[in-house]
């Protein structure tokens, strides 16, 4: 994607300094870091609640929103936020077990992907926009995108901090949590909204189709390794961060998509942990 006249020197610090002289790399590292932290944290709850397919569906619903926004000349992140939020509330409102309804969710996500394809085909700049929505285009992130991402992340993490304990309780032991007076419905709605926001900002980095790489794979490793939820969140964030930084760093020198390197890194960690803990 980017072939620059800078060679890899094995002096990582010097290499980083030279690549961060470029605005697009600085923005990519800034947005990538924010997204990795958010995806790592939200992803841990997605795995605990076994709603990874719902999260995947939200990214497809978001694709239709983003494609629609592109068609009408609106910022795609706004389209993502509106569609994923509406989709998240709908999934939560369908019922507490809705997040695990694979067949229904699969049907809806295929339909939404189709709508997204229609919107993209109606838009003249078809190939580039579709590619960046589906697979991420972190190297094309602007300074204002970084700000939108940061603000969304701060709001999301503040909301998560407020609902942290009831969310954890309902994720691990829903029926007891309900008996203790927690509204399963409202916690479900709030959580799906948080997933919607996280999905919307993560799409910039890995795209709609590869969202699992940041939101589910690191968290799946963390679920196996961590004895305490706080540990799990830290492990999940650490893997997501390391994979994102690794992907950005490598892609500066090798002209392949960043999202390929990120997904490969997270999958490699997952594989190693699975094999090591058999």
């Amino acid at each position: 994607m980017n072939t620059l006249p800078i060679a890899f020197s094995w002096n990582i610090i010097a290499d980083l300094q030279s690549m961060l002289q470029y605005d697009f790399m600085r923005h990519a590292f800034e947005a990538g870091t924010i997204v990795a932290i958010v995806a790592g944290i939200i992803g841990y709850f997605i795995v605990l609640r076994r709603s990874s397919f719902a999260a995947h569906a939200l990214s497809h619903i978001g694709f239709a929103g983003a494609a629609g926004a592109v068609l009408f000349g609106i910022n795609p992140i706004l389209g993502l936020l509106v569609f994923t939020s509406a989709g998240g509330v709908a999934i939560a409102a369908l019922g507490r077990k809705a997040a695990t309804r694979d067949v229904q969710i699969g049907t809806v996500l295929a339909f939404m992907l189709g709508i997204g394809v229609l919107f993209i085909s109606l838009y003249a700049g078809y190939a580039t926009e579709a590619y960046s929505l589906l697979f991420g285009e972190i190297l094309g992130i602007s300074s204002s995108d970084v700000w939108v991402t940061l603000i969304a992340a701060v709001v999301l993490l503040a909301a998560l901090a407020i609902v942290y304990r009831p969310l954890l309780f309902t994720s691990l032991d829903e029926d007891v949590a309900e008996a203790k007076g927690i509204s399963i419905f409202w916690i479900g709605v709030v959580f799906m909204l948080l997933v919607a926001v996280a999905t919307s900002i993560a799409v910039q980095v890995v795209g709609v189709l590869l969202i699992f790489a940041l939101m589910v794979t690191p968290a799946a490793v963390a679920e196996r390794l961590a004895r305490r939820p706080a540990e799990g969140i830290l492990i999940s964030v650490a893997i997501a961060l390391a994979a994102t930084w690794f992907g950005l760093f490598i892609s500066f020198y090798i002209p392949y998509p960043v999202s390929f390197f990120i997904t490969t890194a997270t999958f490699a960690v997952y594989l190693v942990v699975r094999v090591a803990r058999r």
Partner: protein, 284 residues
């Protein structure tokens, strides 16, 4: 057994008057009249879909009575009552989870509070609850590797950590073999007798409970009957309840078998898997 008498019937914990549950067009059961005193160990028995869990949901404030009144500690049941410890029928514990038992037990104390909370919150109380159920050595074991019997002790600790006055246990014996059933019943008995806790325990098979039971609530055919095990589990009483000939047999060890019960009427569809086994267990 002696200690319980000290607590029993000192005061009424649960009182139902003409209580009905279900939906306006489809009552699960109605005209229930019973009262349960402090410190009583009560088995809630009955066939598939008879409305045993519905009774628990009323007590937890998660469902409203269709008619009549239900009083709990002298007031209407309300959601999130800290005086109740609850062990539901199903816990979705992922076999891959590394989360240790202590973490789940701690949630029983502070999980319903807002915010992030302190790192050391509830740890001392969780260790104490695990000690009470004899599961201290499981505190730092991942939930995903624990056996059914070990998990039941963890869930009991989670229910006990808030020092409840009433324990609602929904089929806690469902996944245990006969020896573990008996051990678990003894454990509950020891825990509750020394603290004057009232216990309602939903079960399929009354036999492991017979040594410790004070009372039986039998839910069947849209009705609720209560009384001492010897009064409720008789051929005459069950025949009257179901309206078909039923025979209750006892073997030389006092164990009970219920013969002649047809597939019971289904009022609603919850918890079929376990209740199917309940019906079989009762007939067996």
């Amino acid at each position: 057994m002696v200690a319980m008498k000290k607590y029993m019937n000192e005061k009424i914990v649960i009182e139902a008057k003409n209580l009905a549950a279900g939906y306006p067009q489809n009552a699960v059961w109605r005209d229930a009249n019973f009262s349960i005193g402090q410190g009583e160990f009560v088995a809630v028995l009955g066939p598939n879909g008879a409305g045993k869990t519905t009774l628990f949901r009323l007590l937890l404030g998660l469902a409203q009575p269709l008619g009549g009144t239900l009083s709990l500690f002298g007031a209407a049941p309300r959601r999130g009552n800290p005086r109740i410890g609850y062990v539901p029928q199903k816990h979705p514990i992922d076999s891959e989870t590394g989360i240790e038992a202590l973490e789940l037990v701690r949630l029983g104390l502070y999980g319903n509070r807002w915010g992030v909370g302190g790192a050391g919150q509830g740890i001392a109380e969780a260790h104490e609850a695990l000690r009470i159920v004899g599961a201290e050595e499981l505190a730092h074991r991942p939930l995903g590797v624990l056996s059914g019997g070990e998990l039941q002790r963890i869930f009991l600790a989670e229910a006990l950590i808030g020092k409840p006055d009433l324990l609602l246990l929904d089929e806690p014996l469902a996944n245990l073999d006969m020896r573990r059933e008996s051990n678990f019943v003894q454990l509950i008995d020891n825990v509750v007798r020394s603290r004057g806790v009232t216990v309602l325990l939903i079960a399929h098979n009354i036999n492991p409970l017979l040594p410790v039971l004070d009372r039986v609530i039998y839910v069947a055919n849209g009705r609720i009957t209560d009384g001492k095990p010897g009064e409720v589990l008789t051929s005459q009483s069950l025949t009257d309840l179901y309206g078909i000939p039923i025979e209750v047999l006892k073997d030389s060890h006092g164990r009970i078998a219920i013969i002649g019960m047809d597939e019971p009427p289904e009022h609603h569809s919850e918890h079929h898997t376990h209740d199917d086994r309940a019906a079989r267990g009762a007939r067996d």
